[in-house]
């Protein structure tokens, strides 16, 4: 029933791990050759793989775990999807109905646990209800603002016989996403943009999920509005476009932060005015009027008072605004930002004999001609990957933004490679982050996936070290990290590996990895004490962005 439903929804890949109560499902798996099941090594990996699959393809990702620990291991991955609004269907087994609520072996109240981290969840108590629950779950996960949905099925419900009835039409009276946008508000937004002298667009993840890159470019070009993105919005607007001014936030570009702070109208598109992007809320550009376009009405007015709220699908709303706005000429404003960028380039990589991480990312960008899909973990390497690679195609950067889940890179890269078998996928890994889901290397071998892993190895939990250096008086507490020999470890899994120790070897190693057909791990021994700049200290406003201090530049 479950697999039949998945097949009807067009699911061709799922990531899972068997266990006692889901054995009935695994028993029928061979009858569904259209569904490729990827056996993971830890359920957290399955959830991230489903997420990576969804982010790379724009389609639903599916993961599966057994009851109890299998289900709770999915939780971190589900929360990651929840925070970044990605469509993931998590399936879990549970103990038989008669044991539910009696603390049976491997029982966990996973629907209770996941209430606040799923868009919706189901505990299916009759086999006959499985198709409807599955269909609703997929519908809810993939429409409106996407998000994870969990379906929990007790073991004896899997085994129960029932007639398969596929509901063609759904009627969810409590779920009707608004997509069109209010015409009056759209006109008001256009009028506000026309009057603005210094408007700026902040484009978020919603532009990517709404597949609205083209529509965004048209609006920006017609009205001549500079575009910055949030971290997750990277690749939603081509970074080689003349109106692209990078991304804003805690480690965003200096000029992007200054532009957001100096703007008179801020147009937030498919984004949620998050604290990491906006800095201290109460001091974010008090003069700006905010136009906020988002498909989730609850995001509007959550953190900032909004002058013009528009609830709708960005792909439908943007062309309407473009129709109404006048052709703009904003030479002075663009020149002002250009000048800030000249004076504070942010992305300049200084000459150094050391293997600077920024240099590694930039070299990767040059070697791949900007065509690779980059998947990152969380930490310093994530920020460098966001800053020094340039993304023009939507979905080119895959990263855990909202939740900041370390250990995301390897499984998400596996999911991405499953979705896009012909794309070049690079997992940029932190030495700490990588170790959180290191076991999934086995999946690369199982599935023969040519993921390239680049470990940024500085022997520290780098972001922790950076904060301790800057804000805790260099009290380096629990941030030095002992590591296995990553190359030997890869070797043990049967994966090729190269240790890269000098700057000169960097381009050669990347070339070699690109030519190699299978999975390969590069262990970059990067400079140990390099920090991520610019930086908005936690709790500061965007206007207080700090650049790399002179003494560090001299290193």
């Amino acid at each position: 029933m479950v697999l039949e439903s998945l097949e009807r929804e067009g699911v061709d890949t799922m990531f899972g791990y068997p266990g006692g109560v889901v054995l009935p499902l695994y028993d029928t798996l061979p009858q569904f050759p259209g569904i490729r099941h990827v056996l993971v090594r830890h359920e957290q990996g399955a959830a991230h793989m489903a997420d990576g699959y969804a982010r790379a393809s724009g389609r639903l990702g599916v993961c599966l775990g057994t009851s109890g620990p299998g289900a709770t291991n999915l939780v971190t991955g589900i929360t990651t999807s929840w925070m970044d609004s990605t469509p993931v269907l998590a399936l879990t087994g549970n103990v038989a109905r008669t044991l539910l609520g009696r603390d049976g072996f491997q029982e966990a109240d996973i629907t209770g646990i996941t209430h606040s981290i799923t868009k919706h969840n189901y505990l299916v108590m009759q086999a006959s209800e499985i198709p409807l629950a599955m269909r609703e779950a997929v519908h809810i996960a993939t429409t409106g603002r996407p998000g994870p949905v969990l379906v929990d099925i007790p073991k004896d419900v899997f085994q129960e016989e029932a007639e398969f009835y596929w509901p063609e039409h759904l009627s969810l009276r409590g779920y009707k996403p608004t997509t069109e946008g209010h015409d009056g508000m759209i006109k008001r937004a256009a009028a506000l943009i026309d009057q603005a002298k210094r408007p700026i667009i902040i484009a978020g993840h919603g532009v990517i999920w709404g597949e609205a890159q083209k529509e965004l470019v048209e609006l920006a070009e017609k009205a001549q509005i500079p575009v910055i993105t949030t971290f997750l919005g990277i690749s939603g607007f081509p970074e080689n476009h003349v109106l692209s001014y990078g991304w804003l936030g805690m480690h965003g570009m200096f000029y992007a932060n200054m532009a957001a702070d100096a703007a008179d109208v801020v147009i937030g598109i498919g984004m949620r005015f998050d604290d990491r992007a906006m800095g201290r809320f109460k001091d974010f550009n008090p003069n700006a009027k905010i136009v906020h376009i988002d498909i989730d009405p609850a995001e509007i007015g959550k953190n900032f008072a909004t002058a013009v709220p528009i609830v709708g699908d960005v792909k439908r709303v943007l062309p309407k605004i473009t129709d109404h706005v006048q052709h703009g000429v904003r030479t002075d404003w663009l020149r002002w930002i250009d000048q800030v960028r000249e004076e504070h380039p942010s992305l300049h990589i200084r000459e150094s004999r050391r293997m600077l991480p920024q240099y590694v990312v930039r070299t990767l960008y040059e070697e791949t001609q900007g065509n690779a899909t980059i998947v990152t973990g969380v930490g310093q390497h994530q920020m460098w990957a966001g800053q020094h690679y340039f993304y023009n195609k939507p979905r080119q950067l895959i990263s855990s933004g909202g939740l900041g889940t370390m250990g995301f890179e390897l499984p998400a890269a596996i999911g991405a490679q499953m979705a896009l078998p012909n794309e070049e996928i690079w997992a940029i890994c932190g030495d700490g982050s990588f170790q959180m889901n290191i076991q999934e290397m086995a999946v690369l071998v199982d599935e023969g996936l040519p993921v390239k892993m680049a470990i940024f190895n500085n022997g520290y939990l780098g972001m922790i070290r950076q904060w301790q250096q800057l804000f805790y008086d260099k009290n380096y507490s629990s941030c030095g990290i002992t590591q296995p020999d990553f190359c030997k470890l890869a070797d043990a899994y049967g994966i090729r590996a190269l240790r890269v120790e000098t700057k000169a070897e960097v381009p050669l190693a990347i070339k070699e990895a690109r030519e190699y057909k299978g999975p390969i791990l590069l262990d970059f021994q990067i400079d140990q004490e390099e920090n991520v700049w610019p930086m908005v200290p936690a709790g500061a406003s965007l206007a207080e962005t700090i650049e790399q201090p002179a003494e560090e530049l001299a290193r």
Partner: protein
């Protein structure tokens, strides 16, 4: 529990809101709502659930402390729950807020009459009587019930149970999902063999 939050004409005082949520009558829906309030830091003063006029839908009346969170966010977050069909904030409407209380109070031959007098003033019913106690049932807004409690306190309240607020907007306006069509109502009357004329349906008497 709930404190006095209304003035005499039934309008909520600033800071407190009466939110009505029409929700699917499904297992776990109460937990979803309660969990949402906890997660977002909204304060519930009282929450009352029961059936609505439509099968399969329940009506929750939630008294929210609006100072903790903007009421607009409360409504929007509620709407995000798939099982929530409709949300209305009644605070700016002329509404009838009601609460029911059962109060078990000490009583003896000497003061029983006084107690009955008090009950009379508050239009409270005596629903149980014993040699040393009696149970009063009172319906009204919170102020009225608070008032009665205050009067009864000197006699010794042994047990108190209050329902929390339910509310309805005055006049023809409703907070339902969709009203039954007059056609359906006509059918019901016709089935019962009652003659139906005009559009003023339903009748209070035939």
């Amino acid at each position: 529990m709930s404190t006095a939050t209304t003035n005499s004409n039934g309008r909520a005082r600033a800071g407190s809101h009466t939110v009505v949520a029409i929700v699917e009558d499904k297992p776990g829906v109460l937990m979803r709502v309660a969990s949402l309030f906890r997660r977002r830091g909204f304060n519930i003063e009282s929450l009352t659930v029961g059936h609505s006029e439509e099968k399969g839908l329940s009506r929750m009346t939630i008294l929210v402390d609006g100072e903790g969170a903007p009421i607009e966010q409360v409504e929007k977050q509620l709407y995000k729950l798939i099982d929530v069909v409709k949300v209305s904030d009644l605070s700016n409407e002329e509404m009838i807020p009601r609460e029911l209380a059962l109060i078990k109070v000490r009583a003896n031959n000497v003061n029983r009459h006084e107690l009955l007098d008090i009950a009379n003033v508050f239009r409270a019913d005596v629903v149980d009587i014993a040699t040393s106690s009696l149970i009063l049932q009172v319906v009204g807004d919170e102020t009225k019930i608070d008032g009665l409690i205050k009067m009864l306190e000197p006699y010794g309240i042994r047990e108190l149970s209050r329902t929390g607020r339910i509310a309805m907007v005055r006049g023809a306006k409703t907070t339902t999902v969709h009203e039954r069509e007059p056609e359906k109502i006509r059918e019901i009357h016709e089935r019962a063999g009652r003659r139906v004329e005009g559009r003023e349906l339903p009748f209070s008497s035939d």
